[in-house]
C-alpha cells in the first residue's frame, strides 16, 4: 500500500481496507488503525497547526500523549470536536478535519501570524489591547483562539450509562507489570479488575519479538485466560481518571466513536498503578517540526500498526535505553544515525533540525 507499511507487523487486519478523508483528501487504512497511524502510513506529515503561531505540526506520539493531531471527526452524521487522532480508531467513511487551521493544516492562511512571531511573545496580551478598550479586540481574539468547532446538534442518545462496581484490587494498566500484578493478586484469591485504555491488553509488549518463549500475542492471551479463570475481570478501552474519597476510582469506558462513554464508579481496597512510561519531549529549538517524534511513539506505530514512521532517522536520546528501541526500528528497515544528547550541543542541533529533516525523514527522541 505504501512504503511506510511493514509487512507482517502490527495488530491491523490487512484484509479490511477502510476509506476515510482528512482535510478533504481521500485516503485508505486498515481495520485496527487509528486515524494517526493511517495518516502516517499514507505519508501525511502536517496534520495540525500550533495554537498561537500556526506553525506546522505532525504526529508526535502514538497514544493519549499526542499533543498535535487533534481533529473534528464526522461519522454517520455525527460530529465530535477535538478527537485525538492517535486514540480514535479508524472506521469506514470517517471524515476528519484539522482544527484551528484554514483552509487546511497543510495550507493554513493563519500561518501569517508566525511571520510576526516576535510580537506575540509569552503574555503579550497582558501588555496591549487596553486602549481604547479590551472589548474592541476581544471578539477577534476569541475567534482566533479555540480548537475544534462544536456543532449545535444535540444527539439524543449521546448519554452515558453508569455502573457501580466493587473489587478488592484494581490494577490500572495492562502491560507486562499490570498483567503480572493482576495475575498474582487473583491467584492469591483477590477479586481483581484490570483496566487498560487500549483495545487489548499488552501495553508495550507488542514491541518485543518474544515474551518468555512466546509471541507477545500468545503470551498475553495465555495470561489473560489464566487471570479470568482465577476470577479476574478485564476492562479494555477504559481509562481511570481519578481517585476519590474512600478509594472510589472513576473509570471511563470508551464505547466507540459517536457513542457516549460509560462511567464506572469502582470502589476498591487496593489500587495498583502500572501505567508505564511516556517519552518526555526533548528541548531543542524546532523540536515541534513535523517529523520529530518520540521514540516510544515510533516503536508503537511499528508494533501496533505496522507503520514505519520514516526510512532514515536520527535517534536522539540522553541514555542507553534508546538502543534496543532503535534496534527494533533498524530491523524493520529504518537506517539510523544515533546521537547521544549528552554529547550533542542542543543549540547547534536545534538549528540543524531543519536540515536534518531534509536529510532524514524523522528525528526520534527519548528522554528520561
Amino acid at each position: 500500500m505504501s512504503s511506510h507499511r511493514i509487512e507482517q507487523k502490527g495488530r491491523i487486519d490487512r484484509s479490511q481496507v477502510l476509506t476515510f478523508r482528512f482535510d478533504g483528501q481521500r485516503y485508505t487504512g486498515f481495520e485496527g488503525d487509528t486515524l494517526a497511524s493511517a495518516l502516517l502510513a499514507n505519508g501525511v506529515r502536517v496534520v495540525a497547526r500550533s495554537f498561537k503561531y500556526h506553525r506546522p505540526r505532525g504526529v508526535c506520539n502514538a497514544w493519549f500523549d499526542e499533543p498535535n493531531a487533534i481533529f473534528n471527526v464526522t461519522l454517520r452524521a455525527r460530529e465530535l470536536p477535538n478527537c485525538l487522532a492517535t486514540t480514535t480508531y479508524l472506521e469506514e467513511g470517517m471524515e476528519a478535519r484539522s482544527v484551528n487551521a484554514w483552509p487546511s493544516a497543510q495550507n493554513d492562511l493563519k500561518a501569517v501570524l508566525d511571520f510576526a512571531h516576535p510580537m506575540w511573545s509569552a503574555g503579550f496580551y497582558y501588555k496591549t489591547f487596553m486602549w481604547p478598550n479590551w472589548h474592541l479586540f476581544e471578539p477577534m481574539i476569541r475567534r482566533l483562539a479555540g480548537l475544534g468547532k462544536v456543532s449545535p446538534d444535540h444527539y439524543d442518545d449521546y448519554v452515558s450509562n453508569q455502573r457501580f462496581a466493587h473489587c478488592d484490587t484494581l490494577v490500572v494498566g495492562g502491560g507486562a507489570a499490570g498483567i503480572a500484578a493482576a495475575c498474582a493478586a487473583a491467584d492469591a484469591g483477590d477479586d481483581v479488575v484490570l483496566v487498560d485504555d487500549h483495545r487489548e491488553l499488552g501495553g508495550g509488549l507488542f514491541q518485543q519479538s518474544e515474551v518468555e518463549g512466546h509471541t507477545p500475542e500468545d503470551w498475553i492471551a495465555g495470561q489473560r485466560a489464566a487471570f479470568e479463570a482465577a476470577g479476574g475481570r478485564v476492562l479494555v478501552q477504559t481509562t481511570a481518571f481519578g481517585v476519590f474519597d474512600h478509594k472510589m476510582v472513576g473509570l471511563v469506558q470508551n464505547a466507540g466513536f459517536g457513542r457516549a462513554p460509560r462511567l464506572w464508579r469502582m470502589r476498591t481496597t487496593r489500587i495498583i498503578l502500572a501505567t508505564g512510561a511516556v517519552d518526555r519531549l526533548m528541548t531543542f529549538a524546532n523540536n515541534d517540526r513535523p517529523g520529530v517524534l518520540s521514540l516510544l511513539g515510533a516503536n508503537e506505530f511499528l508494533a501496533r500498526y505496522g507503520v514505519l514512521v520514516g526510512r532514515e532517522a536520527v535517534v536522539l536520546s540522553n541514555n542507553s535505553a534508546g538502543n534496543q528501541a532503535a534496534a527494533v526500528l533498524a530491523a524493520a528497515g529504518m537506517s539510523i544515525e544515533r546521537v547521544d544528547a549528552r554529547d550533542a550541543n542542543l543549540k547547534v542541533l536545534g538549528s540543524t533540525v531543519e536540515n536534518a529533516l531534509r536529510l532524514f525523514d524523522v528525528l526520534c527522541f527519548r528522554y528520561y
Binding site: 501588555k127 489591547f129 462544536v150
Partner: protein, 416 residues
C-alpha cells in the same frame, strides 16, 4: 516601571525582545515595614497597591506562603457582577465593578475585564417572580438590570436548551449587562507589578507561622524566613483565615469548604455571556482561549483539602449538559478545588480583627474575585487610617454580635 503598550511590543520585537524585565522585584525581606499584608492573592496584592497609591504608604511587604495567586485568586471562575440584593452589598460590589472597569488602565496591565453580561435563568412563573424581585432590588440599588423573556434569552445564548422536552424549560431571565469575566492571573500579576513599581516588597514562599505581640498589640509576624515587624498588619488569606486567626488568638465565624471548578478543552466561541441556572446549580462561561469554564455549589463537608469530590462534579456537569445539551460532546480538560471561607450570612468580613494592629479582610467565600479591587481599596483605607470607609462599615466583624447580618445567601442562591 516601563510601560506596556502596543508600541513597546513592536519596539521589543524589532530588538529581539531583550528589553523586558521581571514584572515585579524579588527582594529579601527587611526586618521592619510600615505595613505587612499577609496573603498574596488578589485581595492582599490590591491592598498593598492601594496603600501605596491612595495613602502614600509604600514601605509595605506582601507575605505569601506559596506563589502569587496560588490560592483562590488563581482557582476561581472569574465571574464579576454586582447583582446583589441588599443596599450594603450592592454598594460594595458595584464599587468593585466600577474599579474593574478602569483597572487595566490603572495598572497598565490588561486584566481583560469582559463585560459580556451576567445572565441568570428562570424556569417557571414563581422563578420569574423571584427574578423580578431581584431585578427591582437591583434597580433600586442603582445597578443595571434587565428582565428577559425566553425569546430574549435565546437571542443571547442560542445553545441553551429550548426544546419542548427540556427537563426545566427556560421561562426567562435577569441580565446584568455590566457583569462578565476577568482574567484572574492578570488581576494578581497586574496588582503585583504596579505595587512593586510603587515600592512594595513582594515576598513569595514565605509562610506566616505566628504573630509577635507586645503589650496586647500585634507588631509583626514570625515567618519561615524569620521575624518581620510592622506598624500595622492586614490579613487576606481567604480559606485559611480561621487558621491564621487561631495563631493570633481570636476566632472567626467562618467555615471553610472546598469549591470546585472545571475547564473544558478549547473550542470555538459558543457561549456569549456568563449563564447561571439555579435549577441545576450550574453556571458557565467561555474563556477567551476557548475553554468552557463552569462551576456550581460547595462540596458538602468542611475541608482544607484542595481537591474535589465526585458527587459535586457529577451534579455540576450533568447540570451543564442539561443546560447546553449540544455541549455534552465536549471533553473536560482540568478541574480543581479551592478552599473558600464561608460566613453565616455569606457576606465578607472587613475590619479590625479584635487584636490591636491587625485588620482582616475575609469571608468572601465563593464570590470574592469580583470584589478584589474593592476589598483591597477598603482594607488599605482601614490599615492606613485605622477606621472604616463608609462602604466597609456594615461588614465589620461586630455584626455577628449586634445581629446586623447582611444575608446574601438567600438572594444569590449559588456561588460565583
Amino acid at each position: 516601571m516601563k510601560r506596556y503598550s502596543a508600541f513597546r511590543l513592536i519596539r521589543e520585537a524589532a530588538t529581539g525582545n531583550q528589553g523586558w524585565v521581571p514584572a515585579w522585584r524579588t527582594p529579601t525581606p527587611k526586618s521592619h515595614y510600615d505595613a505587612i499584608v499577609i496573603g498574596g492573592g488578589g485581595h492582599g496584592l490590591a491592598t498593598a497597591f492601594y496603600l501605596a497609591k491612595n495613602h502614600a504608604i509604600s514601605d509595605v511587604a506582601v507575605i505569601e506562603k506559596g506563589w502569587l495567586g496560588g490560592g483562590n485568586t488563581g482557582r476561581n471562575t472569574t465571574a464579576i457582577r454586582s447583582n446583589y440584593f441588599y443596599p450594603e452589598s450592592a454598594a460594595l460590589y458595584d464599587f468593585s465593578v466600577k474599579l474593574y472597569e478602569g483597572l487595566s488602565k490603572t495598572l497598565n496591565y490588561n486584566v481583560m475585564f469582559s463585560q459580556r453580561g451576567m445572565l441568570m435563568l428562570t424556569h417557571s412563573e414563581p422563578d420569574m417572580e423571584m427574578a423580578t424581585r431581584q431585578f427591582n432590588a437591583m434597580r433600586i440599588n442603582g445597578i443595571d438590570a434587565e428582565l428577559l423573556t425566553a425569546k430574549q434569552v435565546q437571542k443571547i445564548e442560542p445553545m441553551l436548551n429550548f426544546r419542548s422536552d427540556a427537563r426545566h424549560p427556560i421561562h426567562g431571565g435577569v441580565l446584568q449587562p455590566r457583569g462578565g469575566t476577568g482574567r484572574h492571573d492578570a488581576v494578581a500579576w497586574g496588582y503585583a507589578r504596579a505595587a512593586s513599581a510603587l515600592g512594595v516588597d513582594i515576598i513569595q514562599n514565605c509562610e506566616v507561622q505566628s504573630f509577635i505581640t507586645e503589650a496586647g498589640r500585634c507588631v509583626g509576624v514570625e515567618t519561615s524566613l524569620g521575624p518581620i515587624r510592622a506598624n500595622v498588619l492586614g490579613a487576606s488569606v481567604a480559606g485559611h483565615s480561621s487558621v491564621l486567626a487561631e495563631l493570633a488568638g481570636f476566632e472567626l465565624p467562618i467555615i471553610s469548604y472546598t469549591l470546585q471548578a472545571f475547564v473544558s478543552e478549547p473550542i470555538k466561541p459558543v457561549l456569549n455571556s456568563v449563564v447561571l441556572a439555579p435549577a441545576f446549580g450550574t453556571y458557565a462561561s467561555q474563556s477567551d482561549k476557548g475553554g468552557l469554564v463552569c462551576g456550581g455549589g460547595l462540596d458538602r463537608v468542611p475541608s482544607y483539602a484542595q481537591r474535589g469530590n465526585f458527587p459535586v462534579q457529577e451534579t455540576v456537569l450533568s447540570g451543564l449538559s442539561e443546560m447546553f445539551p449540544a455541549l455534552n460532546k465536549v471533553k473536560l480538560l482540568r478541574h480543581w478545588g479551592g478552599i473558600v471561607d464561608v460566613t453565616p450570612d455569606s457576606s465578607p468580613i472587613i475590619g479590625p480583627s479584635g487584636v490591636d494592629g491587625l485588620f482582616i479582610n475575609c469571608g468572601w467565600g465563593t464570590g470574592g474575585f469580583k470584589a478584589i479591587p474593592a476589598g483591597g481599596y477598603l482594607q488599605a483605607h482601614l490599615m492606613a487610617t485605622g477606621s472604616h470607609h463608609e462602604l466597609s462599615k456594615p461588614f465589620d466583624l461586630s455584626r455577628f454580635v449586634s445581629g446586623h447580618l447582611i444575608d446574601e445567601a438567600a438572594s444569590s442562591g449559588i456561588p460565583h
